[in-house]
Amino acid sequence: MKFGVVVFPGSNCDHDMIYVLKKIFNQEVVPLWHKDRDLQNCEFIFLPGGFSYGDYLRSGAIARFSPIMEEVIKFANNGGFVIGICNGFQILCEAHLLPGALLHNDNHKFICRNSYIIPQTKQSITTSSLDQDQPLKIPIAHGEGKYFAKDDVVKKLNDNEQVLFRYCDKYGKITPESNPNGSVENIAGVCNEQRNVIGMMPHPERAADENLQNVDGKVIFESVFKEIENRVISR
């Protein structure tokens, strides 16, 4: 499996994602430059965190129009796997590959800290092998991370099990206090109806290196690798 990590001008978690995929998990990974149109036969695309195009106008609003994104959108529409983390999530919403939008945090400040999230379904490549009773300590770092969607959209997300993660406390309880940014129903990550496009605000790549004393994010990557392997075998 070949992974691609898109590099927008202003991306700043691209190196971190490449490091984790390559050095921690020994995967084949290439950077994909925003001006290019060639996905280099990547079978799985990550949109990393950062401030693409400075996040001027609105987070992710400009990035969706870049040449590489035209290809990523086609790739996703053909069933290819795309995961957006943080700014990547914002870009996927702006590109209408995912429902909803990410608004300014309720406290109108940038927030960076460890947060806890709890998997909501086994029906996604990022959560299929996760324990739904086990909260994960995953860092967040964003100014615009408040997930918002209209009531009928949220209902549909719930009905279809498209909500992958919700913010919770360290015991796994989903409470208003454990919602760091005011996201509707504590939503931290979602997927599209076809379940091949995934977005989440927390950064699992920041919790995957033992040197940092928190490897809660590893299981999310491992879930992805396992699921892909299964699909390849059953093909």
Binding site: G10, N12, R206, L212
Partner: protein
């Protein structure tokens, strides 16, 4: 030569030059300068660029060390060999004056400027720190400054993508008008891949890259070299405007262009913009330059030559390229969608000629402008202030022992200087780069993973301004010692120092006395710890208006330090780990409440000497703790600093919500035991299984140590008396800044 804009002594004075400086300029040029030339001299000879009132003393700081790859002043930042083929570039710089009148942009561009100093050398910034001082927390102005300074640092640094790994926030009314905003950046470069700020090779083209040039920041360096007054807000145009997105592109493009091998030299444009970068690079390379100002990409039309020369627009660099290889450089900047325009070339001799539309508008010798060349150097007189001997009259016996020390303890945790800085820190991205090892193990210093090696880099920034005010020599030595102590407690060895010397007006002999003695104290401590000073920044003219009187800020020689951890398994946190672990105080408890937060805020006694400090004792203490960590004998280490032993114990307990049960020392006053700030003390916890090993090792050193008690339960128990549960105390400590900034 355009001499139509005549310039005279009055114009020179308006630009901040002294009459004797004006005469000296005439002598250098052999004629009257024109306005553009006078502007050039006024910024290059400003305090900010020339260090004219400080350089004589700064040169007395220890500047040599085995690991140093560049001596202080040689490059934009200090450069230290880390082994494994890596070097570290690091520096701290002030942005006090701009932040005082426009806190958001002032602080943001401070972050931008210091990072450019690092990557212009070819190093990738991997960690940032900041040291912030504000006035009385009750004042609306303080809240306004804090809110926007933090937002400025966050918005710029978060987008730029370098984690904040350490810092300090300090409040005192002496900073009411004039906050101190110091930013530090630490970068990593492969040894041998650095680039110098040098210009040479006749005919080599000179390029300006990055943002376009606008009218922002003109005379910023001059503005930073005068007192802050009521009228200072009129100088808002002297404040630059930052664009972190451009900075991020400039970083990537710069590191990429260095790899082409086509770059002769490079310097960022900070203070004094094109003037400073062209003159410093030329003087260093002993060449001249012809610069065509009309070729500079501008943000607005009809800028005058002096405006283009002096603009401090951010996110720009000057690059001298090997002739014939221009296209390689152009390609890189084109890839990153940045300006890259040739504005001149290197010439023989050492004369800088600036042209506008084919007309020569200024002609000055590069050497005459720069520090170490023709820039003036002054001896300033100094005089011991009266308060210094008055402070020494303080006696602890004159202070009544407070009855309810539990109330004092809660009061201390509620002080803005002591309480958690979480409200600030949460607004900074502290984890981008996946290198910050002190996120999940809270350490006294920031610990940064050097990926691909066994090592970690440590960094810390510190200064207790009140101690320096009380006794500049001891205070500055304590600042060095405490910074080193932070690194040692976290598992490292101190290696090198950068400093940011924040003082009042140098023409005030009492202020200058503070400066001179701070330098002396700093030099002594740096020699002892073998941590040479690799560079830094001086910021004079910091003062506030209090009760209608102008008072200098507390002298604040802020110390930024880096250290190395040879084996990253040695990382040691401040938090107690297991119930039953024994708590030891290494170092001696003393009957000393000098300068403590307790004396200053609870008793409101503002005149006392610096706390007890002995450099030899400090050194021995650090040697012992280094050994204890290297041998894996202790579970945690946290130094005793602001707020005293009680605060240290509480902070160690708070990490994992583990209580403590300790006994005080009856030979000294209990308030001094709990809240005194005498130096050279570290609290460690020891697993009972390692007790024997610990005692043997500690006993073989000359340092006193004592068993305070043990990690136990969930309360702060002192002599059997509960000072509250850790959870309850944490509720006070955690919310002070939040309540100040966002009251319910």
């Amino acid at each position: 030569m355009n001499v139509s804009e005549s310039a005279n002594l009055d114009v020179a004075k308006d630009l901040g030059l002294l009459p004797e400086e004006y005469d000296r300029i005439k002598e250098i040029l052999g004629r009257e300068p024109n306005f553009t030339e006078l502007s050039i001299y006024s910024v290059m000879w400003s305090e900010h660029c020339s260090y004219k009132n400080s350089i004589k003393w700064i040169k007395k700081l220890p500047r040599k060390g085995e690991r140093l790859l560049a001596e202080a002043g040689d490059e934009n930042a200090g450069l230290v060999d880390l082994g494994d083929g890596l070097a570290c570039a690091f520096k701290v710089e002030s942005h006090n004056h701009p932040s005082a009148i426009e806190p958001y942009q002032g602080a943001a561009t401070g972050v931008g400027g210091i990072n450019r100093d690092i990557f212009t050398m070819g190093a990738r910034p991997i960690a940032q720190l900041n040291s912030l001082r504000f006035g009385n927390p009750e004042l609306d102005r303080t809240k306004w400054l804090l809110k926007y300074v933090v937002k400025g640092i966050g918005d710029y640094g978060n987008a730029f993508g370098v984690p904040v790994v350490g810092g300090e926030v300090y409040f005192d009314e002496c900073f009411n008008t004039n906050p101190l905003i110091n930013a530090m950046s630490v970068g990593i470069v492969k040894k041998g891949n650095t680039i110098s700020a040098i210009s040479k090779g006749v005919g080599n083209p000179v390029f300006i890259v990055g943002s376009s040039t606008g009218k922002d920041g003109i005379h910023g360096a001059t503005f930073a070299s005068e007192d802050i007054t009521e009228a200072s807000s009129d100088k808002i145009p002297s404040v630059q405007v930052g664009d972190p997105f451009q900075e991020k592109l400039l970083l990537e493009a710069t590191l990429e262009v260095i790899k082409t091998g086509a770059v002769v030299g490079m310097q960022d444009m900070g203070a004094a913009g094109i003037t400073c970068s062209t003159s410093e690079m030329s003087a260093k390379g002993e060449h001249g330059m012809d610069i065509y100002l009309d070729k500079v990409p501008l943000r607005q039309k009809s800028m005058k030559p002096f405006e283009i020369l002096l603009s401090e627009s951010q996110e720009r660099m000057l690059i001298v390229v090997e002739k014939g290889r221009e296209q390689e450089v152009l390609d890189v900047f084109d890839k990153w969608d940045l300006n890259c325009v040739q504005i001149g070339h290197v010439t023989e001799g050492d004369v800088l000629r600036y042209y506008m539309d084919d007309e020569l508008v200024a002609e000055v010798p590069a050497e005459s402008l720069v520090l170490g060349g023709g820039a003036p150097v002054y001896d300033r007189e100094y005089k011991e202030p009266a308060y210094f001997s008055e402070n020494k009259k303080f006696k602890i016996d004159d202070v009544a022992l407070s009855g309810d020390l539990k109330e004092v303890a809660r009061f201390i945790l509620n002080c803005h200087n002591i309480a958690s800085k979480k409200w600030v820190i949460d607004q900074y991205d502290t984890m981008v780069g996946t290198k910050n090892m002190s996120t999940n193990i809270n350490c006294d210093a920031g610990v940064v993973n050097l990926k691909g090696t066994e090592k970690a880099l440590l960094t810390s920034i510190d200064c207790n301004s009140r101690y320096v005010q009380a006794d500049p020599f001891q205070g500055a030595a304590i600042a060095v010692s405490e910074t080193a102590r932070n690194i040692v407690c976290s598992g490292g060895k101190p290696e090198a120092v950068t400093n940011c010397l924040n003082f009042g007006n140098p023409y005030n002999p009492e202020v200058y006395w503070q400066f001179v003695n701070s330098i002396k104290g700093m030099a002594k401590a740096c020699e002892k710890f073998e941590t040479p000073v690799t560079g830094g920044n001086v910021s004079f003219y910091n003062q506030s208006t209090l009760n209608g009187k102008e008072v200098p800020v507390f002298p604040s020689p802020v110390i930024g330090m880096i250290g190395l951890m040879e084996d990253k398994k040695n990382i040691t946190g401040i938090g107690f780990k297991n119930e039953g672990d024994q708590i030891f105080l290494i170092g001696k408890s003393r009957n000393d409440i000098n300068c403590s937060e307790y004396l200053y805020r609870w008793h409101k006694i503002k005149k006392s000497p610096a706390p007890y400090f002995d450099l030899e004792e400090e050194y021995e203490l650090q040697e012992l703790v280094k050994q204890l960590i290297r041998e894996h004998v202790i579970e945690s280490a946290h130094d005793v600093s602001d707020g005293g032993l009680f605060v240290t114990l509480f902070e160690s307990a708070r990490e994992n919500k583990l209580g403590f049960d300790i006994a005080s020392d009856d030979s000294i006053r209990k308030d001094a035991f709990l809240f005194g700030e005498s130096q050279s003390r570290i609290v460690v916890s020891v697993n009972p299984g390692k007790l024997e090993e610990f005692i043997t090792m500690a006993a073989s050193s000359n340092i006193e140590f004592s068993n305070l008690g043990e990690v136990q339960g969930n309360e702060a128990l002192i002599d059997g008396e509960s000072f509250g549960t850790i959870e309850h105390l944490a509720e006070i400590y955690d919310n002070v800044l939040h309540n100040m900034m966002e009251p319910k």
